[in-house]
């Protein structure tokens, strides 16, 4: 039953693997840029081709280890070129490997079918190779492009990585079983059949991994939306609560004012005045500062300020709240609540109380509204994309505060940016009027 099985030339496999890596690298966040990346990719193509060609004639039992090494080289290529974690690089190298297997197998099947084992002119072979690889990888590139997260991470962890590795290994095993031995229940007997099995199993594997990828992405987006919703709800309910308590304080404030008037009748002038002064100073903090021209902002600032006073943080603010009157309550809560919470959270960790400083300004600058949060900051700010690298242990939930600010600001056609000026962390919001 043995028909001659022309194997895929190793150079073709190497080229497919290389192209598959390039497809994924081109869409991920790069570590290397420009000529560095080009030179590195070129080097990788040579290494991969040499490796596969030199190991061509090794006995069959060494074939599996060789394939593992080949994937290892792909992993190294992706990991070094991109600014991603090892898990993510592993995930993408398995996907690239399966895609490469599939395309190489597909191309070779067309090749064998076209020339039926006869020697074809080199130029025709090359044209077929380039056409099929070109179209196939372009299609994969287009498919993948829709599901690569723009910023942020895919959150590939051990579980996701291992599922992918197992799917990849199973696909690879079954698709190549007939090449190792025809004596298993799952092996094909004829060349055509064997190649069909390989191509179809690879296609299936690629489709499964693609579906898995989409699912991971959806999960990530859902998680993100949920976290943002939570934050929105949280800020809003905080606002509701503080609104009530501040109304109460206002009421108390007027009450106290009346008491002070009564106290003025006190006989001993010195004693009376000292007492009064103390009282006045004490309540000064609790006077809700209904002065910015926007009630939501007033309430928010008052409640955050109370928290700051309790924690020895100096919060100062210059704000023209009337600029925010066209904005939704929930958006104002999101922007100011989250920005102030982040600043407060950082300042609480500053040891010396006199360094715990936060300054907020809201003003019109030509045809724009500018909102600026500044807080005293020690050390160097590291940015990852446009988010600061977290200083908190919970990295999965990191950045949703800032993301929800951005989400709210973008509704009004504005932008958010963060940065550092000397010892100050700055978060700036710019919205066209």
């Amino acid at each position: 039953m043995n028909t001659i099985l022309p194997e895929i030339p190793r150079l073709y496999t190497a080229l497919a693997e290389w192209l598959a890596c390039i497809v994924y690298i081109s869409q991920l966040k790069k570590q290397l840029k420009g000529w560095g990346l080009i030179a590195f990719s070129g080097g990788f193509l040579i290494v991969q081709s040499l490796f596969l060609m030199l190991t061509k004639d090794l006995p069959i039992y060494l074939w599996i280890p060789c394939m593992v090494v080949a994937i290892g080289i792909m992993f190294y290529f992706i990991y070094t070129s991109c600014n991603i974690s090892a898990q993510e690089a592993g995930y993408f190298s398995v996907r690239a490997f399966v895609a490469a297997e599939f395309i190489a197998s597909l191309e070779w099947q067309v090749h064998v079918f076209t020339w039926q084992g006869k020697q074809a002119p080199i130029w025709q072979e090359t044209i077929l190779l380039l056409t099929i690889y070109g179209i196939a990888f372009l299609l994969i590139w287009l498919l993948e492009k829709r599901h690569i997260p723009e910023e942020g991470k895919l959150n590939i962890r051990h579980r996701e990585l291992w599922s992918t590795v197992f799917i990849g290994a199973a696909v690879f095993g079954i698709s190549n079983l007939s090449f190792v031995s025809t004596q298993t229940p799952f092996s094909g007997q004829y060349a055509q059949e064997i190649m069909n099995i390989r191509t179809l199993v690879d296609l299936g594997g690629f489709a499964i991994l693609y579906a898995y990828h989409i699912q991971l992405n959806e999960l990530r987006i859902r998680h993100e939306l949920k976290a943002m919703q939570n934050i929105l709800q949280h800020q809003y309910s905080q606002y509701q609560q503080s609104k009530e308590s501040i109304e109460l304080i206002n009421y108390k404030y007027h009450d106290l004012k009346n008491q002070i008037i009564a106290l003025r009748a006190e006989e001993d002038a010195d004693k009376r005045n000292a007492y009064l002064k103390k009282m006045e100073d004490e309540i000064k903090f609790f006077e809700a500062q209904n002065k910015t021209g926007n009630h939501v902002l007033d309430t928010l600032l008052a409640s955050k300020n109370m928290f700051c006073i309790k924690n020895g943080i100096t919060l100062t603010c210059v704000a023209d709240g009337s600029l925010l009157n066209h904005m939704d309550v929930i958006d104002i809560c999101t922007i100011f609540g989250n920005a102030l919470d982040n600043a407060i959270e950082y300042e609480q960790r500053v040891e010396e109380a006199e360094k715990r400083l936060i300054h907020v300004s809201v003003f019109a600058q030509k045809g724009f509204i500018m909102i600026r949060f500044e807080n005293y900051f020690e050390g160097e700010l590291e940015l990852e994309g446009d988010l600061p690298v977290t200083t908190k242990p919970d990295t999965l939930n990191h950045g949703y505060g800032l993301k929800s600010i951005r989400y709210a600001v973008e509704k009004y056609g504005g932008v958010v940016n963060v940065g550092q000026q000397d010892n100050w962390f700055e978060l700036k919001v710019l919205i066209p009027m």
Binding site: Q289, T314, E354, G367, M370, Q421, K428
Partner: protein, 236 residues
């Protein structure tokens, strides 16, 4: 040299501010010229735009800080005004007189020096820079702020400036190198926009000195970010 005025009626705070400024002067390593006034009306009467920074108490007997600042803004739009107050709810209105910063009493040296340092830094960034343009009769020297925007057409560069339109020859690439480090943004169709003169944004147009310049959707975000970074660096 930095010229600073202290307008404060309580002598205790006045002395403290003087002391802090002397300490600050040493840290900064730059000479600070200090003049003191005891009330808003006295200060306004004497004002001839001779200061870089004014440290002003909000509550004073004859003329309060806010009214004094209003008077000063009529004469001088450049000076930095920093309120010193124990009543934050008054200073919150500072935006009305372009005073975006204030220092709370009791004054801590740390807060004082930090805020002052930032004000000085922004002030320094506002300093004028010059730029030369080659024209047929030789070269013309311009303040950067006199240039509104530059348009490139083939090998021609068209400068829209305070004194009108000036054409010179040159390419976008050369211009980009010359302008590196200044606050210009490269918009669509070979526009270089001086961020200082951006007045507004409508949909996909930036308003620059009354002219609508196209900013495509793909560049809109980058443009606004550049604008916000620029203003963050220079606004008082």
């Amino acid at each position: 040299m930095i010229r600073i005025a202290i307008v404060e009626d309580e002598s205790h705070y006045k002395e403290q501010l003087m002391e802090f400024l002397q300490k600050f002067e040493q840290e900064l390593g730059e000479h600070i010229d200090i003049e003191t006034y005891s009330d808003g009306d006295e200060f306004v009467e004497d004002y001839k735009a001779q200061f870089d920074i004014i440290l002003m108490d909000v509550q004073m007997r004859f003329m309060d800080g806010m009214s004094a600042a209003e008077e000063i803004r009529k004469m001088d739009s450049e000076v930095v005004i920093i309120f010193i107050t124990n009543m934050a709810q008054y200073a919150i209105k500072g935006y009305a007189v372009d005073a975006l910063d204030y220092i709370l009493k009791p004054i801590s040296y740390f807060q004082f020096s930090q805020r002052l340092h930032r004000a000085i830094e922004r002030m320094k960034r506002r300093e004028e820079h010059y730029f030369t343009i080659k024209v047929k009769s030789g070269v013309k020297r311009f303040q950067i702020s006199d240039i509104y925007y530059i348009e490139s057409q083939g090998h021609k560069l068209i400068f829209s400036t305070k004194v009108g339109v000036i054409e010179t020859s040159g390419t976008m690439k050369e211009l980009e190198e010359q302008l590196a480090g200044y606050h210009f943004f490269r918009g669509n169709k070979g526009y270089f926009i001086n961020l200082e003169h951006v007045e507004g944004m409508h949909d996909t147009f930036a308003l620059v000195k009354g002219q609508e310049l196209l900013i495509s959707r793909s560049k809109r975000k980058a443009f606004m970010e550049a604008l916000s970074t620029y203003w963050g660096e220079v606004i008082k």
